[in-house]
Amino acid sequence: MKYKNILTIAAGLLFCCATLSAQNLSDMRVTEIVADNETGLVDDFGVRSGWIELFNNSYGTVSYGGCYLTNDRSDLKKYRIPSNDKSTTLKPRQSVLFFAGGSGEKGTYYTNFIVEKGQTVYMVSNDGRTIIDSLKIPEDLQPDKSVKKVPVGIKETDFEIENDSEPSPGSYNGDVNAKSKSQLMKEKDPHGWVLTLISVITVFIALILLAFVFTAIGNRSIRERKTKEKKASKKYSENMSPEVAAAISIALSQEFGGEAFAAIALALDDYLGGGVHDAESYVITIKPTPGSQWNEKTQNFRQLPRK
């Protein structure tokens, strides 16, 4: 049973790790391609060629070394991005360019294939099988124009494809002059009433939900306690009649007085660490301690020397 539990936990952890790793790479996007570069960007060797832009669509750094780029669906391992190049990591929301001039020997950022109109460019995961993202180059794409994915939506993590755009190699394809949330709020809600209303309602909803749930849990707890009390009183009444209990109680109080009860209660409370028995306030619970407790601090207590 123990081994079974360990195996289950290990499998769960492995699954999580695998998912996390895949999740990082799965955030990569092929965001822009220029196929026919006549007057545009020049590479480090002074050559103009088509290029592919990859974008990290997440808010964490992604290491894409070991992944593949290809323009052929039947050959997903066409160009392998070197995994031992330390520069193959991409910070959140950043992009990187690969020149697609068919000269892979030039370095990490030069693919061994050429991109042409009508092709689809794929980014493939480091397993060589899983396609992470792709972008199709239109047949009628104009020279020196790009096909690009533009971030849209509130979170700007979804994209729409734009053809014949002005190329923006290595730059963010979304609106770089986009207004901050605060600026937008200033325009939409200059006096702040809408935000105030929404916020107050949300705070109330959150706490009302909490109150509702804990009222229900409290009611259930009260019912459970009453049932337990009933059972306990029945059990004790079987062992000891109320007359006997009263007689013992009177005898104890006559013998020792109220102070003895207080001392017993305090000692028990102290022994239980205070508040332990509040789970069942009508029964004092003494928990069995495991082992000999030889190294417990309480075993080493000494009376303080008197001055």
Binding site: P190, L195, T196, I198, L210, I217, G218
Partner: protein, 380 residues
């Protein structure tokens, strides 16, 4: 001889006396004032002593470029200040708060959560007023959170929304938290009648350990799903409470509510104080922030008290709530609950309100973290 005189002149230029400005002296005086208030009056000494001394440290006039100032990259103070700037000290304090807070008072009377929600009006009242005074929405949100009466939350939110105002906001929040007994009492008396102050509330029921364990887990899931942007604060608060209540992580709970919270409180106070350099702190905006901060506390207290009065109109006799616990909806734990107890006993010495006031008090902690999450979501 010339060399000696030249060296002495050069040394003079390095000293604080050559670089001092009257603004530095004012800030140093304020710092000494904070320390004096903490020691003589005993108001929030754990915060005011570090902040006060930090103010003195931050305002020692110095020659720039020695890489020792709090705003100089890589200096010791700058490194310690990152916890404030990046916002990771406040969640650590929330971990400690969670590990030291007993939510029993709240669990036994969940309806008191609503008072904690009502008192958050202080935050949004100050937000509206800050907009009127010409602050941008992000700055207004950061200023408004002072009304939550929660220092770590104020630092966390201002570090995200308006880092340039953080010093003034943090000092304002902690100052008014120290002044809770002075600010709240007159407002409580103003809005309540003598008859209302005498209301006796039924004794809270005993809460089982099972309920105490459920609370952090369910509380976290509910609030974090509604306001995920409050995750750092809510997550740490409820995690700390789970450590306390689970019964099997006593050592972790003790570390969280002891060494961790003490260390972080010391560092956060010192660095926030040191960040109030005169040139950055003594501005017109700081004066406005102090006024808005005071108003936010007033609005929060009044909202809590008035909400209870309004609620009482719908409650049956025997179930009515003493409006003197309304002030405790602000999350200055446990000071505002203590104020409820003290004011309540002024009018009925046998009416103990502390245990009832702790409910809205800890609800205020959750409410202000939720409100901070909302503001961060909209304006961050």
């Amino acid at each position: 001889m010339d060399t000696v005189i030249e060296s002495l002149q050069q040394f003079w230029h390095f000293t604080g006396f050559a670089n001092v400005t009257w603004q530095n002296l004012i800030m140093i005086a304020i710092g000494i004032g904070f320390i004096a208030i903490a020691i003589i009056k005993g108001w929030e000494p754990l915060l005011l002593v570090p902040i006060g001394f930090g103010m003195i440290i931050g305002n020692i006039p110095m020659f720039p470029g020695l890489n020792i100032g709090i705003y100089e990259d890589g200096s010791v103070l700058n490194t310690l200040y990152q916890g404030v700037k990046q916002g990771w000290y406040p969640p650590l304090i929330f971990l400690g708060i969670g590990a030291m807070t007993d939510f029993s008072a709240l669990i036994s009377q969940p309806r008191l959560l609503l008072i904690g929600a009502a008192a958050q009006m202080g935050i949004f009242g100050a937000y509206l007023l800050a907009l009127v005074l010409g602050f941008d929405p992000n700055q207004a949100g950061a200023i408004g959170i002072i009304g939550g009466a929660d220092g770590p939350t104020a630092i966390f939110l201002s570090s995200k929304l308006a880092p340039d105002l953080m010093g003034a906001i943090a000092v304002s929040a902690y100052s008014y938290m120290a002044l809770v007994p002075v600010i709240q009492r007159p407002i409580m008396l103003l809005f309540t009648t003598k008859k209302e102050r005498l209301i006796r509330m039924p004794k809270p029921r005993v809460v089982s350990q099972k309920e105490k364990i459920f609370f952090p887990v369910i509380g976290f899931l509910l609030t974090a799903f509604i306001v995920p942007s409050g995750l750092p604060l809510l997550g740490m608060l409820f995690f700390g409470n789970l450590l306390k209540e689970s019964g099997v992580t006593r050592r972790l709970a003790e570390v969280a509510r002891g060494p961790i919270v003490d260390t972080v409180t010391t560092l956060i106070g010192l660095t926030v104080g040191a960040s109030t350099q005169a040139d950055k702190f003594l501005t017109g905006n700081s004066v406005k922030i102090f006024i808005l901060g005071l108003l936010s506390f007033v609005i929060a207290t009044a909202s809590g008290v008035l909400f209870v009065k309004l609620w009482n109109l719908f409650l049956k006799p025997g179930h009515k709530i003493n409006p003197l616990i309304g002030n405790a909806g602000v999350s200055a734990v446990p000071d505002s609950a203590r104020v409820s107890e003290i004011v309540g006993r002024e009018f009925d010495p046998d009416n103990h309100l502390l245990m009832h006031a702790m409910g809205p008090n800890v609800a205020g902690v959750i409410g202000s973290a939720v409100a901070a999450g909302i503001l961060l979501g909209f304006l961050g």
